[in-house]
Symmetry: C2
Subunit: 183 residues, 2 copies
């Protein structure tokens, strides 16, 4: 592309045009998500704020995933969730929140040294925290559960969050919740 | 060994002797532990009552032991213990109690089916619950910690409990506590 300058007037017109295009693009970029129906749905079915005080919640159980995940998890519940588990209430009532705290699954050299053999695995670096928040109206389109995933306190992209429900939907018998309560 | 019976008298004497030996052995066996100084100490250094409400305590971390133990553990702490962990107080103050809840480490067929591959391990049947209770005076002879181990709510034999301290004593740098706090 070759631009031939015919004088100051043309230059001013080009500059003005560029500014206008840039401004319009910005306006479109900012307004489009808010006005699109699809994006309103997306905003509603995901949880983007970390529930306060979750690290103090009571224990539901523990889990380990091998392979790429290589994760060690503790699954905690707020009081509504814990009561539902202990009283075997299904489906979980609105207000129930389940938290999955994930760390790396790592061998403990310190423990192995004491035990005299390689047998001990512990929680390493934290990797992410996930939540399921029960609100049967707000999250009606995803089985009544809102899903959340935080890396270092920051919510994951919607692309990540969209993978939660299809997998959880497969365990309908326990209201989409993988973890069983461990006494 | 050949025994030659010389008559009823000898037979009665042998029987009487056996009964006496048996009785004396029983008396010795029953009385020795109560009167021996060593056994009084033993009674003092072990915890034989399950601390109330421990299943509601906050999470410290998780652990897995391979091999014969094949265990999945959640380690919980009472408020004194949790505060000490979070504020990195060492040694742990009196009143701190740490609970290790153990279950079998088992594959989850249900989860693996959903994930489409064998990768998921969960807590199976409960196996035992162990406690460390900090009381620097009462348990002075075992580093200030009283040890406990319960199978199905019943305290383990002293023979089992005596194995706790020698192993925990090896991790003096963290006040005899294996588990680190996981954020």
């Amino acid at each position: 592309m070759i631009i031939v300058f015919e004088g100051d007037t043309m230059m001013r017109r080009i500059s003005l045009l560029l500014v206008l295009v840039g401004t319009l693009a910005g306006v479109v970029a900012v307004r489009a998500p808010a006005s699109g129906q699809a994006d309103q749905d997306a905003a509603a079915i995901f949880v983007t704020k970390i529930p306060t005080g979750y690290r103090d919640w009571k224990l539901i159980s523990v889990a380990h995933e091998e392979g790429n995940l290589n994760s060690f998890a503790a699954i905690l519940g707020n009081d509504v969730a814990i009561e539902a588990y202990r009283e075997r209430k299904l489906p979980f009532p609105d207000g129930a929140i389940i938290a999955a705290l994930h760390w790396r699954f790592v061998p403990s050299e310190e423990n192995n040294k004491v035990f005299g053999r390689s047998q001990s695995f512990v929680a390493g670096q934290p990797t992410n925290v996930q939540f399921m928040v029960k609100d049967s109206k707000k999250y009606a389109s995803t089985g009544g559960w809102g899903f959340a995933h935080f890396n270092d306190g920051k919510p994951a992209d919607e692309a990540v969050l969209k993978t939660c429900y299809p997998c959880h939907a497969k365990i309908e018998g326990s209201d989409l919740v993988f973890t069983r309560y461990s006494p």
